[in-house]
């Protein structure tokens, strides 16, 4: 059943967003560094290869180091619109032919945009990998941007924004809380962009953006699956090698200054259940505290024996679901998130109090040995389960590469294993403080007309207790 809570909601919408799950899962612990091969073409294009011969399949992925963090005021949504336009063809390939060609070869393709990156991938049979190589190499430099295609595709993106955000109360809350928690750093605006900005983008903006960011020096390839690396590398060199390096774009962004006190926002709109989000500024994996936050998130919401589930769902019966989430592999420091969908007839203030109690407990009481081992076991098991998929393996390598380096994956399990009860107390005290947080609350309004009011207190009576 689709139950929305903060980031979980995000996962629900975007299947790829098993991601924060994927992140706890990864490549075989044993000798990743030995199995992954990295090289760079003379023009600066980095190539990351992992052979995996369990099935005659390959995932071929091109990652560009450009996302909404690279955008500017009044030009938000540019990265994502360009991602859509990447399917509008080159001199060789007609508009919207790209996916048709991949599908005729028995493959699937898609693309995605995030704060930090824009990525394109093809999943196909190993004997078809050349098709993906040629098409991706072609559109890295030879995209044809036409006014007519742009106008139509902009309408598609506006529909996408309506679907994802405008008609979704929780999505609006997330957008609002990001715009409050971040004031300087570009994580502040939504990846899809503000509707007004999408409406005023110009074809010239796209051309300049493509010119700046779609260069060998600002991209890398990740290929995982059934191939021989020498042979594949020859093919890649042939297809991508002739492009000139391009200028490395400036990737420096201003740091978000420390927060000087709690911020609080409300979104009031027609909705069924209240939602609460609490977000705290935290470091990414450049700082070892980040791995401790991974363990904290697991203690709080890993499984039905976790603290939030036991306390908020079972004992206090306040919420339908509660989640803790941490973005380990963002390029710049991001947020640690607590979220909950509040049950009908329950007070949001009670939920907030319960969250505070759980945070306080993390700060005050050392976590018991059994509970800590449980959290680590969960992270390790997920780590192994996630290796079932070459697509996930490629995603994991690429996301670490975006944040720091794919090599950081090797630190994941050892870093998790060495977390101590004292670490947890220290990190909870350091980051999970009221002054460092933004609280966002969705307050449901009753419908104006057309249907009966969502049940407030009356639902309570209907509930069987």
């Amino acid at each position: 059943m689709g139950l929305n809570t903060g980031l979980k909601f995000v996962r629900r919408l975007f299947p790829l967003l098993l991601l924060s799950f994927i992140l706890s899962v990864s490549i075989s612990e044993a000798g990743l560094k030995e199995n992954v091969f990295e090289t760079a073409l003379p023009n600066g294009l980095k190539v990351i290869l992992l052979e995996n011969h369990k099935a005659p399949l390959v995932t071929f992925q091109v990652w560009y180091r450009v996302g909404s963090r690279n955008e500017a005021y009044e030009k938000t949504g540019l990265s994502h619109v360009l991602e859509h336009m990447m399917f509008k063809g080159t001199e060789k390939t007609g508009p919207e032919q790209f996916s048709r060609i991949i599908q005729e070869n028995g493959g699937n393709d898609n693309a995605f945009t995030s704060h930090d990156y824009t990525a394109y991938f093809e999943n196909l049979s190993e004997d078809r990998v050349q098709v993906a190589i040629d098409l991706e190499a072609d559109r890295m430099q030879n995209l044809v941007l036409r006014e007519e295609d742009f106008r139509t595709e902009r309408m598609v993106v506006m529909e996408e924004r309506r679907l994802r955000t405008e008609d979704n109360p929780q999505a609006v809350l997330i957008e609002q809380i990001m715009a409050t928690a971040f004031q300087i750093h570009p994580y502040r605006w939504p990846i899809i962009g503000w509707m007004e900005d999408i409406g005023r983008l110009k074809l010239g903006d796209l051309k300049a953006y493509y010119q700046t960011y779609y260069n060998p020096v600002n991209a890398f390839l990740v290929v995982v699956g059934d191939f021989k690396k020498e042979e594949l590398l020859t093919r890649i060199e042939k297809a991508f090698g002739s492009y000139s390096k391009g200028a490395a774009p400036n990737q420096e962004k201003d740091k978000e200054p420390s927060q000087m006190g709690e911020r609080r926002i409300f979104v009031k709109r027609e909705a069924q259940l209240p939602t609460i989000l609490m977000v705290y500024h935290v470091p990414n994996l450049r700082n070892p505290d980040s791995y401790i936050l991974e363990v904290i998130a697991t203690l709080l919401s890993g499984g039905k024996s976790s603290r939030l589930y036991q306390s908020l769902v079972r004992e206090k019966r306040l919420v339908l679901s509660a989640e803790a989430d941490h973005s380990l592999v963002s390029r710049d420091p991001d947020l640690f998130t607590l979220s909950a969908d509040v049950l009908p007839g329950k007070e949001v203030a009670e939920v907030e109090k319960a969250f505070d109690q759980e945070i306080g407990r993390l700060q005050r009481e050392p976590v018991g040995e059994q509970e800590l081992v449980k959290a680590k076991n969960q992270l390790e098991a997920s780590f192994i389960f996630g290796q079932d998929s070459i697509f996930n393996q490629a995603m994991l390598l690429a996301r670490h590469e975006i944040a720091t380096s794919w090599k950081a994956i090797d630190d994941y399990l050892p870093s998790i294993r060495k977390v101590t009860p004292e670490d947890i107390q220290r990190v909870a005290k350091k980051y999970l403080t009221p002054d460092n947080r933004t609280v966002g609350i969705l307050i449901p309004l009753p419908p104006k007309e057309g249907k009966p009011a969502p049940d407030g207190p009356s639902t309570k009576e209907k509930m069987i207790r």
Partner: protein, 477 residues
């Protein structure tokens, strides 16, 4: 972490496909959603002679063993040893189509209730133990059947399997816990009101299937769920949860010897039972019907369709090809071309059949800004009519066949997908050689077949139309 993908499939469709037959049916093409691309396993270490069945020879399908236990439980297994974990999926023929009238949600609540306590362990003990193993054990129900699935590290297989068997054969459905589950289900039903696509989907199924067994939501309704009683759950469980009404798929790091030595003895203790015969009520709307639901939203959520087919229908393969061309083929489909690529009217437009043991539905699903609703509906109807009248081009047909056949291996490329696939192949009696037969089933479809099935199974004149929108803005008041 937030990502925008070029195209994703709306939640309601995904949810249904996950709880219902998925892997045995055409893979979602590119763009419909992001596939989880995982390796499938060719290297086999299971001996080839178990039950004397031939091993699948096609690369798409790892070897599979099938056996029937003394209590009539059918076991399908496929070993692969590169990763140290095991996936079990049990399918019990006890889906919501068996819900009594007025007791909608009973099958769902029973499936959920399995995990709420056993004669040996409380719900908290079960959850604590599972989390300590890092394992997952889930139960749910769809229209046709319920599933219980376990994923556990190889080293913990015995503990995990003990839990699996305990919740399956000794659940106690504690009164207090079932009340909680009812409360949770009701809140979830309420929260689905915030998702226009869910609202549309429920309205569509109700309008199409009337009072037939597929007409109500699997999780029940606001009216029916509060009335469900523990005794009914216990009775429902006692009626249907028997080995002779179930299929167990076992996939991953486990050998035939281990299955026989460690799993079979416990499985055989599960007692057989007499399964009640419940008639399937077939009654669907045969005339054109429009349902309009007013909401203060920016997009019209539209479902247009009619009754579909059962999985056993011999036209299934011709329909698969036809639907790919019409609206199932992602960016290769006509609806996508006309509505998204040419006119920019929608981000997502798709069509599908959702066949079950009995005929399901055919649906075109799209979202467009309110003022474009009429245009998008009329374009969709035009495409339904066009594929009924004109032969598709040779080129379209060939491209479709290449995709469906070529992408087949990706439908079996994780333990979870393979377990789901195997249990469904068994459920629908497709035969373990299905992956080998599939290419020829698809190849044999002709252009004339497509016109024939389009005429027979698409009803543009007698469609069911559901619109959830700001009706005033959509000009549909």
């Amino acid at each position: 972490m937030i990502l925008l993908v070029r195209l994703f499939i709306p939640h309601s469709l995904r949810a249904r496909r996950l709880s219902e037959p998925e892997a045995a049916f055409p893979a979602c093409p590119a763009g419909r959603r992001i596939p989880n691309f995982r390796p499938l396993f060719l290297i086999l270490t299971l001996t080839l002679m178990w039950m004397g069945l031939p091993v699948g020879s096609l690369q798409a399908m790892p070897p599979v063993q099938r056996m029937t236990l003394s209590n009539r439980l059918v076991l399908v297994a496929s070993g692969e040893h590169s990763l140290p974990f095991v996936t079990l999926q049990l399918l019990v023929d006890s889906g919501s189509r068996r819900d009594p009238s007025g007791g909608e949600g009973l099958a769902y609540l029973t499936a959920k209730g399995l995990l709420h306590g056993t004669s040996k362990r409380t719900i908290n003990q079960i959850n604590e133990e599972l989390d300590f193993l890092g394992a997952s054990l889930n139960s749910s129900s769809g229209r046709d059947y319920a599933t219980l699935s376990l994923r556990v590290l190889k080293k913990d297989l015995e503990k995990g399997f003990d839990l699996f068997m305990e919740v399956l054969t000794q659940p106690v459905f504690p009164e207090e816990e079932m009340k909680r589950e009812i409360e949770k289900t009701l809140a979830a039903i309420q929260s689905e009101e915030d998702q226009p696509e869910e609202v549309a989907e429920k309205a569509f199924l109700k309008a199409l299937f009337l009072n037939s067994s597929y007409g109500h939501p699997v999780e029940g309704t606001e009216e029916s769920v509060p009335k469900l009683k523990r005794e009914e759950i216990v009775r429902f469980y006692g009626s249907y949860y028997h080995p002779n009404n179930a299929i167990l798929a076992i996939v991953g790091d486990i050998t035939e010897q281990e299955i026989k030595a460690k799993l079979v003895p416990q499985l055989e203790k599960w007692p057989k039972g007499e399964i009640p015969k419940v008639p399937f009520i077939t009654n669907f709307e045969k005339e054109q019907k429009t349902v309009k639901i007013n909401r203060p939203i920016t997009q019209a959520n539209i479902i247009l369709g009619n009754v579909g087919v059962s999985r056993e229908n011999p036209d299934f393969y011709a329909l698969t090809v036809m639907n790919y061309i019409l609206g199932g083929g992602g960016f290769a489909s006509r609806l996508m071309e006309v509505i998204r690529n040419k006119r920019g009217l929608a981000y997502s437009v798709t069509s599908f059949f959702d066949p079950g043991k009995y005929p399901g539905s055919f649906q075109i699903v799209l979202q467009t800004k309110n003022p474009s609703a009429r245009e998008a509906i009329s374009l969709s109807l035009q495409q339904m009519e066009r594929i009924q009248k004109e032969l598709v081009s040779e080129k379209e047909l060939e491209a479709t066949k290449k995709y469906l056949i070529g992408s087949f291996p990706m439908r079996l490329d994780t333990q979870g997908k393979l377990a789901n696939f195997l249990s469904q192949v068994e459920y629908y009696g497709l035969g373990l050689d299905y992956p080998e037969k599939y290419p020829s089933l698809i190849r044999s479809v002709t252009r004339e077949d497509i016109v024939r099935v389009a005429k027979k199974y698409l009803h543009p004149k007698k469609h069911i139309l559901v619109i959830v929108a700001d009706l005033k803005e959509a000009g549909l008041e």
